[in-house]
Subunit: 128 residues, 2 copies
DNA sequence: CGGAATCCTCATTGATACTG
DNA sequence: CAGTATCAATGAGGATTCCG
């Protein structure tokens, strides 16, 4: 996670980098954030449509997830003054910068899913 | 998370990709895995040294985390027949492939940490 | 439509003590 | 040294109900 060039990284460098990555992971590594972000890639979306897009999410968790993403500046919330009220969510510019790194992880997961599955069943059979 | 070329992705594509990414995130998005992986990048390491490297981790969680990483084929556990026993952990080839995507997220976290901090304090002051 | 509030459950984690 | 076993606490998440 550290070690630029060929020099040994200091422990402090490591700690700071691990902090950074852990912060990001706790932001998007929860149960729903990536699903929500993934849905919003397609474009702005309203609350109930988002709810259908992210199948399985409860109303509580959708609201909570959106609030946290909004708080971190990754998602923008727009209230349109209609009756009944219309609320639209979309990725911010900052939110869009997250797409690439997430996609990288997604590709990794894709590429190695079978190796992981095999490693698992092998481990499980060894353990009884 | 999908949308290759310019064609609209199907919902099924999206779901599958979100599944993949969620699986990866639940594997490494827990409280300790990234710390452990980050420490093992430097090379093989024994249990107690790892424990000191990942400061704050309990014995229980270190063992648990290592088991899960081993199960998924990301970490290799070697028992050296000495007295007292010596156990060495290291990343597998598969484990090493994870370094790059993790580093990408790490860089993202670094690059935008201030924007996120500002977004947060702005949001919090708006909310009271 | 787009939530907020409440209650409840279960999974994750930590602390502690013990062991080959 | 490198764990295992047990228990207690914390907190994320789901279900339900109510609201402007």
């Amino acid at each position: 996670m550290s070690g630029r060039h060929h020099s040994r990284p200091t422990g402090a460098d490591e700690d700071r980098e691990c902090q950074d990555i852990r912060e990001t992971l706790s932001r998007i590594g929860d149960k729903w954030s990536v699903h929500v972000i993934g849905s919003l890639i397609e474009g702005p979306m309203r609350y109930n449509r988002l709810r259908r897009a992210v199948s399985g999410i409860s109303q509580r968790m959708l609201t909570l997830t959106l609030r946290l993403l909004e708080r971190d500046g990754l998602v923008k919330r727009d209230v349109l003054h209609t009756a009944p009220p219309t609320v639209e969510y979309q990725l911010t510019a900052l939110g869009e910068t997250l797409i690439e790194p997430i996609r990288a992880l997604s590709h990794w997961a894709r590429e190695y899913r079978h190796e992981i599955r095999d490693a698992r069943s092998s481990f499980d059979s060894r353990s009884g």
